[in-house]
């Protein structure tokens, strides 16, 4: 068996308590336990994390870049969802 036969895992690191897990990178490992150990050695050698997630890459469903425009289009014409859309008279505070 070779490393290519090992599944690919995506590694997510929580850098400190109170923050969410963030994608750090990926690695190959034969199982989840080894993936965690390898992730520790690969992505937290300098105390970059207090918690790790490993997720099989194959389990991730992604939007396709080809669909980018139509897929994200619904949000494109709704600037009124942002607070800066609204004009407020000068001097009005706490708003």
């Amino acid at each position: 068996m070779t490393t290519s036969d090992w599944p690919l895992w995506e590694v997510f690191v929580r850098s400190r308590r109170g923050l969410s897990h963030t994608h750090a990178g990926s690695l190959h490992a034969p199982d989840a336990e080894m993936a965690l150990r390898n992730a520790r050695d690969l992505y937290t050698r300098r105390s970059e994390g207090v918690s790790l997630w490993v997720v099989p890459s194959a389990a991730i469903t992604a939007s396709s870049p080809d669909e980018k425009d139509p897929f994200f289009e619904p949000a494109g014409d709704k600037p009124y969802r942002h607070p800066t859309f609204y004009e407020i008279p000068e001097g009005v505070r706490h708003l």
């Binding site: 490393t3 599944p7 034969p30 050698r45 194959a58 396709s64 980018k68 949000a75 014409d77 600037p79």
Partner: protein, 338 residues
């Protein structure tokens, strides 16, 4: 409906920003993939793995990232040569951490290369059979302890000069790997400089050892930036694609300018009688590089080419049982997700 201008970033960090791919909008959405790619590169956007990209761009990245990854793991050898003979426990712990970092850098880069559709095994196989290269610098031997210091200062220093601009490379996964690597390389360079400084300020024998190491590593370090601009086959296209941001000669000049005062502070000299400040240009002038030597080493006739690849193959074969055991364990516990 009147559509007012899009909200601005400071108060709405998630506001839609105009990207070249998106500005086309529904009406102009049927641009050719080439046009979308070119516009993204022109606008300094990042290309991501599933985007359309020219085959030559993909091939160029695979070649460069693979060579970079191979350099990281082959680069473990010359330094690992001194782990058991490090002069103190402190230096030994530092060197082990550094060599472990190089393995990590190799893994970040192999992962980046894999996003382009090549497999890890294919890359390792090409390294083991000489079909992909690694940096020539690692075909020089580490003869004394001072070489560990010289490698940290000069070889890692040259690598950093090369790599910092790669953090802005147009290909996202490569750029992200480089950000991580550059953060970690800084320790490599400083530990080397400190080790050399200790020798330079030590006994006359130690000082001579440090000087000898610098004398041997200086020219090969300058060669790390690759052939001169007018002979570099990939440079112009790589720069147009924003894979590279600066030319070989430009980076080499920058490195020389950085090193001269650092050498002075070390109390060591650089082995180039023609090295002098050029007031007019605002840079140091330096002597001609022996490109015949560079080509010789690149071709496979350097002092350690054979040894490096043999050792690499042996390490891979010796590790086979570990990979097999891990796979058997995973199969037995039914955790493999594939």
């Amino acid at each position: 409906m009147t559509v007012p201008t899009a909200p601005t970033a400071p108060t709405a960090p998630t506001a839609p920003t105009a990207s070249p791919a998106a500005t086309a909008g529904p009406a102009g959405a049927r641009e050719t993939p080439e046009a979308v790619f070119d516009a993204a590169v022109a606008a300094d956007e990042r290309i991501e793995p599933r985007d359309w990209m020219p085959e030559a761009y993909r091939a160029s990245l695979v070649r460069q990232i693979a060579q970079h990854a191979h350099s990281e793991i082959i680069g473990m050898q010359p330094e690992a040569n001194w782990i058991t003979r490090a002069p103190s426990l402190r230096r030994k712990a530092i060197l082990m951490a550094k060599v472990q970092d190089e393995a990590g850098h190799g893994l970040y880069l192999y992962s980046a290369a894999e996003t382009l559709g090549v497999s890890r095994d294919e890359l390792l196989d090409k390294l083991h059979t000489g079909r992909q290269k690694y940096s020539s610098i690692f075909n020089y031997p580490t003869l004394t302890w001072a070489d560990v210091g010289a490698i940290g200062w000069l070889v890692d220093g040259a690598a950093i000069t090369n790599q910092v601009p790669l953090c802005r490379c147009s290909y996202g996964p490569y750029a992200r790997a480089m950000v991580r690597i550059c953060k970690e390389e800084s320790f490599h360079q400083r530990q080397g400089y400190e080790a050399l400084l200790a020798l330079s300020r030590g006994t006359p024998e130690q000082h001579a050892m440090a000087q000898d190491a610098v004398d041997r590593w200086w020219w090969p370090s300058l060669m790390m930036f690759g052939p001169p601009d007018d002979e570099s086959s990939h440079s112009a296209q790589s720069m147009a694609w924003k894979i590279k941001r600066h030319s070989n000669d430009e980076l080499r000049r920058r490195f020389v300018d950085i090193c001269v005062p650092q050498a002075e502070a070390l109390g060591l000299t650089l082995p180039d009688p023609e090295l002098r400040w050029n007031e007019e240009r605002g840079h140091y002038d330096f002597g001609a590089i022996d490109w015949a030597e560079f080509r010789e080493v690149l071709k496979g006739d350097g002092p350690c080419n054979e040894q490096r690849i043999t050792q690499r193959r042996r390490a891979h074969e010796d590790g086979a049982w570990v990979r097999e055991a891990a796979a058997a364990h995973a199969a037995k516990h039914g955790e493999a997700t594939r």
